[in-house]
């Protein structure tokens, strides 16, 4: 069952946040989410997040783009209408391959880049008119927020978070 109550601990320094994350992890509490105004180097490692696989998807999209370019030009230039254009050999794909390389390259990059970006948007649920999810507007400016689920242990958690240097600890009821 999902906890309906969470604690929001607010920090105002990324170094303090990092040590707080390590401490909370050491105490074996589950961190639901962390909101920061900028990327904090090493935060994903400290939280124990799995590494991203988006580079792998990009590689595969690149291969798709390369295949599209090859199949497209092989059909158009070699199979469908092998015309003599300025004496270029259109007898087989390989013979005229150097002329196709710029397109093959660009299509590879195009597919790899754009499909990876779209993948990123889908996986991170970002689109126009999407309702912003940040619990506290200050987290987009100069504050860091750590969200921890509460399972009847608010007192203990509050003490722990205060100890780690939180400037503010709020109990939030998500039920309504």
């Amino acid at each position: 069952m999902e906890a309906s109550k969470v604690i929001h601990a607010i920090y105002n320094d990324d170094d303090i946040l990092m040590s707080a994350v390590k401490k909370v992890k050491a105490e074996r509490h589950h961190i639901e989410e962390i909101y920061t105004p900028f990327p904090v180097h090493g935060l994903d490692k400290a939280m124990g997040l799995a590494p991203t696989r988006i580079a792998i998807t990009s590689f595969m999209y690149g291969l798709v783009g390369l295949t599209v370019a090859i199949v497209m030009m092989n059909f158009i230039m070699i199979e469908d209408w092998p015309q003599n254009i300025g004496g270029k050999p259109s007898f087989s794909y390989l013979e005229n391959m150097p002329a196709f390389v710029p397109i093959m390259f660009e299509m590879t990059v195009f597919f790899a880049a754009h499909l990876m970006v779209i993948t990123f948007y889908l996986r991170s649920r970002m689109w126009p008119f999407k309702k912003a999810e940040n619990p506290d507007p200050r987290t987009t400016d100069d504050h860091f927020l750590m969200e921890i689920a509460v399972n009847g242990n608010e007192k203990e958690l509050e003490d722990l978070l205060k100890e780690t240097g939180a400037v503010e600890v709020n109990l939030i009821d998500k039920a309504h």
Partner: protein
């Protein structure tokens, strides 16, 4: 301090001795008499007819000379053509040990030069990751002075001691019959070639000498004045380097085909030397680290060097393809002969090197985790080095030996000879100074480098 292990020293000396023997054997067996060559061609003709037309298409200068002669005495055309053909093949066979020696000498020289350029870039850009590798780079560049002098000496000797075995424009007989070379003779003449070569070598060696001196002086200095000096000369050297490297590639490589020219050739040779140099930095670093001499070098440094290997392999391919595709596309006869002779007679090395220098590194080094695994980088590095040897081979051999190429005793022995010399000089230089710079302003950052 690093000590040159006896085992490595003995191996380098064995390499040099074996190489010398093989090179000597190559020179001894390359002098064929007219009758021997005639016999050789006849026996080859029996196997696969039509070697005659193919060979006549090579080495344009002798072909031109042949054309003018043939017009003069049409009556003796048949006998004369046969004589010309045999002499042509005889010359190609005699060129082979010279070319093999020259390719290997240039290959190892260009590694040292590429590392010197990389070193200067690291200092001029104030890189924070690489100072722990500076002493390795300085060790490798110690080979530059002897290596470059050897390359120049072989080039000059081929035109003075030898029978114009590498550069046809050195042959007054050829120049007399060749309008195109005559037009270039104010640039391509032996005294000016030697002076230019010595200026290049002097400039590079002076930079190497002073950068090394300031680097060692910085170890015991009280302030950063040596660092500032090395920064300034690095910036100056890079300007000098990009001019001289370009001219060096016209002189020492492009002029083996004096009828052909390409504008991005200097960059292309630069890409080849740069990626080979970076690869050798990686290989020597991994070797020294495996022996426990570089405990301050970690996998993050290896990752960065491997990234450079990866990126520069692609850069090399970009230039290789740009040069090839522009000439292939427009197909202008005076330019395209360069690639026609390579495509007809050198299909495997010419296309094989694209696999070795591009396809293999791009697949092996794309993954970030693989770049941190020493044996993976070593394996890819050896393939890259072999690929760039083939690259230089493809630049020199078609102009000198034509279709008479093979990677046999002369070629392998020349590689062994210069590999032995390279190892000897480089590891000897590594013993001369501590392997970690002291008091270098970015030393701390480099030691803590984390990617």
């Amino acid at each position: 301090m690093y000590t040159f292990s006896n085992k490595l020293k003995t191996s380098s000396i064995i390499l040099m001795v074996l190489g010398l023997l093989g090179v000597g054997y190559g020179f001894m067996t390359s002098h064929k008499s007219f009758e021997e060559v005639e016999h050789l061609i006849a026996s080859e003709g029996a196997h696969h007819g039509g070697g005659h037309d193919e060979a006549a298409a090579h080495a344009a200068p002798s072909h031109d000379a042949h054309a003018t002669d043939a017009h003069a005495d049409d009556a003796h055309n048949g006998a004369d053509a046969h004589k010309k053909h045999v002499e042509h093949v005889q010359h190609q066979i005699a060129n082979r040990p010279w070319s093999a020696l020259y390719v290997a000498a240039f290959f190892f020289m260009m590694i040292a030069l590429g590392v010197l350029a990389f070193y200067a870039i690291q200092i001029a850009s104030q890189a924070g990751w690489s100072p722990v590798l500076f002493r390795v780079m300085e060790g490798i560049t110690a080979y530059l002075l002897p290596g470059a002098l050897i390359v120049l000496a072989i080039a000059v000797a081929s035109g003075t001691i030898g029978h114009y075995n590498l550069f046809v424009w050195m042959d007054p007989e050829v120049v007399a019959h060749d309008k195109l070379i005559q037009g270039k003779s104010s640039f391509l003449n032996l005294p000016w070639f030697i002076i230019r070569g010595l200026v290049f070598i002097a400039g590079w060696s002076l930079y190497r000498h002073f950068s090394r001196k300031f680097s060692i002086a910085q170890d015991t200095a009280e302030d950063n004045s040596n660092f500032k000096k090395s920064f300034r000369i690095a910036a100056g050297f890079l300007v000098f380097f990009i001019y001289t490297e370009s001219m060096m590639s016209w002189d020492w490589i492009m002029s083996v085909d004096p009828h052909w020219f390409s504008t991005l050739f200097g960059w292309y040779v630069f890409a080849s030397m740069f990626v080979s140099g970076i690869t050798v930095i990686a290989l020597i670093t991994i070797y020294l680290k495996s022996r426990g001499h570089l405990e301050f070098v970690n996998e993050n440094h290896l990752h960065d060097v491997a990234k450079f290997m990866f990126a520069m392999s692609i850069f090399w391919t970009y230039l290789w393809f740009s040069q090839f595709m522009l000439i292939w596309y427009s197909n202008i006869p005076e330019e395209v002969t360069y690639f026609v002779s390579r495509f007809n007679d050198y299909k495997l090395p010419f296309l094989g090197m694209v696999v070795l220098n591009f396809v293999f590194p791009i697949l092996m080094l794309m993954n970030a985790d693989y770049k941190r695994i020493p044996w993976f980088v070593v394996m890819t590095g050896l393939v890259i080095l072999f690929g760039h040897y083939i690259d230089i081979f493809n630049m020199i051999m078609p102009a000198t030996v034509g279709d008479r190429w093979f990677i046999g005793i002369p070629e392998i022995s020349s590689i062994l000879l210069f590999a032995g010399l390279f190892i000897f000089v480089v590891f000897n230089a590594l013993t001369k100074a501590p392997l970690l710079v002291k008091r270098y302003p970015f030393k701390k950052e480099s030691e803590e480098f984390h990617y």
